[in-house]
């Protein structure tokens, strides 16, 4: 009885309303609020070849074969396999493992599978947290955080660190792994996996003390929390949205007066001597002296004395903390 029906079903005939059947299949999955795995199973079943859903950003990887097994494959996706982006331009895709190129119904199956997956991702976006988010949240149970660590490929017995970026989700890396240097980042200390929420907090503080490294926002692009010392205490006291202190306002005024101002002051504050600062800025020592005299007038204190340089250093840091809430 059932077998006869299956006999028909396994031979989806492009000429005989198979497109309607593909639509009916995925519409029913969506109506049932089926998950991503069921969608991938469906694609594999209808296409009669293994199917995948991959999302490198979410570290999501689902694979199913037509007989329903969900074993992963070490084989990387080939560029000529038929694929469909779940959100146009986004990182998530559904693919069919077709070494010999697309079959007739593949386009239709992939389109409907991608549309079904899109509804799942939209539905779950507000509820489902990324593994890194779970791992870095101290309010989450330890079991759940250990699960998240394994999902991220971390060994729960080895230390790891959190890394904060201004414009993208947090990264968690093993302690020995390299820290990305190509973008602005605050780097947390290496800690036990279950202490990662504290590493994350320190990483975010370090991030607030980084700068773009440009003329208008000079300073380090990558900072390790371990380098901050008492600056972390200062950071804790300059809250986001707090009114700027007088020295920060003075720095902003000075910055507006000359294009070289902020970079010159930042270099002087960080250098071991005025001579070293002049070398770093590639200006003559006397030019630097002239600039600093002008800056001292605008700021209202002499930046050439040791106390003045410390005040300058702190003012520059306070300005960054105001700019990076």
């Amino acid at each position: 009885m059932v077998r006869e029906l299956v006999g028909r079903l396994t031979a989806l005939d492009p000429q005989a309303g198979a497109a309607v059947q593909v639509i009916a299949y995925f519409d029913a999955l969506v109506a049932q609020r089926a998950g991503l795995e069921a969608i991938v199973r469906g694609a594999a079943f209808l296409a009669r070849c293994p199917a995948r859903l991959v999302d490198d950003e979410r570290r999501l990887r689902v694979r199913a074969t037509p007989d329903g097994s969900t074993s992963d494959s070490p084989e990387p996706a080939a560029p000529h396999w038929p694929a469909e982006e779940i959100v146009p331009g986004g990182p998530a895709r559904v693919l069919l493992e077709r070494p010999s190129g697309p079959a007739e119904l593949d386009r239709m199956i992939l389109e409907r599978a991608a549309a079904a997956a899109r509804t799942v991702l939209e539905r779950t976006r507000t509820r489902v947290r990324e593994p890194a988010e779970i791992l870095l949240d101290a309010r989450t149970s330890e079991n759940e955080r250990l699960w998240a660590a394994r999902r991220l490929g971390l060994n729960p017995d080895e230390p790891a660190r959190a890394i904060a970026f201004p414009d993208r989700p947090p990264l968690v890396r093993p302690a020995q792994a390299d820290v990305p240097q190509d973008r602005r980042a605050g780097v947390g200390p290496a800690v036990n996996v279950l202490d990662l929420p504290s590493s994350w907090e320190a990483a975010r503080t370090a991030l607030r003390l980084t700068a773009e490294g440009t003329e208008q926002d000079p300073g380090p692009r990558v900072l390790h929390a371990g380098e901050l010392g008492p600056l972390a205490v200062l950071a804790a006291h300059i809250h986001p949205g707090a009114p700027a202190d007088p020295d920060t306002r003075a720095l902003d005024r000075a910055a507006a007066s000359a294009p070289w101002m902020l970079r010159t002051l930042d270099t002087v504050a960080a250098a071991s001597s005025l001579r070293a600062a002049a070398t770093a800025l590639t200006v003559h020592h006397s030019t630097l002296q002239t600039r600093l005299a002008q800056a001292s007038r605008l700021l209202g204190w002499d930046v050439r004395t040791p106390a003045g340089r410390l005040r300058l250093h702190l003012a520059l840091i306070a300005r960054r903390l105001h700019r990076n809430p």
Binding site: M1, V2, R3, E4, L5, V6, G7, R8, L9, G17, V20, Q21, A24, Y25, F26, D27, A28, L29, A31, Q32, R33, A34, G35, E37, A38, R41, G42, A44, F45, A64, P66, D67, G68, S69, T70
Partner: protein, 329 residues
Amino acid sequence: MTQQSRVGPPPPFDPTVAATLAVVHETMPPDGLTPERIPLYRAAAAEVRSRPAEEFTRDGAFAVQERAVPGPQGAPEVPLLICRPTGAAGPTGVIYYIHGGGMVMGTNRHGADDLLDLALDLGMTLVSVEYRLAPEHPHPAPVEDCYAGLLWTVEHAGELGLDLGRVVVAGTSAGGGLAAAVSLLARDRGGPALAGQMLICPMLDDRNDTPSSIQMAGLGIWDRTCNDTGWTALLGDARGGPDVSPYAAPARAADLSGLPPAFVDVGSAETFRDEDVAYATRIWQAGGVAELHVWPGGCHGFDMLAPHAAISVEAREARLRWLRRVLAS
């Protein structure tokens, strides 16, 4: 009626099963099998009937033969499809399989592929029997054909290379009911000793009035209307009455003791759920051995209809594990 008022809404189908049903229902409604449509359904199955025996060799893993063996007294011969593993050195265990089809359709080809998967994994011989069908051949023709085929198989164990300590009867749907009936016959007639009975979503109760049969009317596969068609074909006016033989409808058996270990699986969203659960329960109550699986959201025959569903994968694994266990003991 009192039962009907106690029945809640139908349990939801597993999402993958629901999606596959949506495709199936494009061409075949859940309550499609009425007496007039039996020829139509049989015609749809003709393609499977004509599959040559060589298609079951699994690239030479099985030696396949077809035998027409003596049927019940005065009845035609019974066609058996026999698949023996070519690699087996000594006698093998045997799965004696009885196909489904609501008592009104099917052949010894139907469902054989699924059982061959199991036979291949376990190095067993598969014997698939073809029995006369209702309504042309009402009870007891189907069950007596099945029993005759089993007797011949056991009597020819030497010739076929079978180990009589490892004989399992198995059946799907109507075949599951017939496998249960054959087990009752073997017990009551002092027939062959069976190592187990594997009852896959078996059709056991002609009364067709359990809560699940009412709950699932008009839904899934093989609903109450189809079930009525099948049982009426087998039993005629006697269906649902006081005098139905347990060898026609094993749910009618007063005594379920002394049976071989049973494996029963069924979906939670199908007509047969309650009669199958009750059968396993009554075996335990009689002091027997049974393993029962109720797969959530499964429709009738879900593992064949939607082999890619997660519950289908697990259901197949459960059958394999059970067979391994009963054959090892």
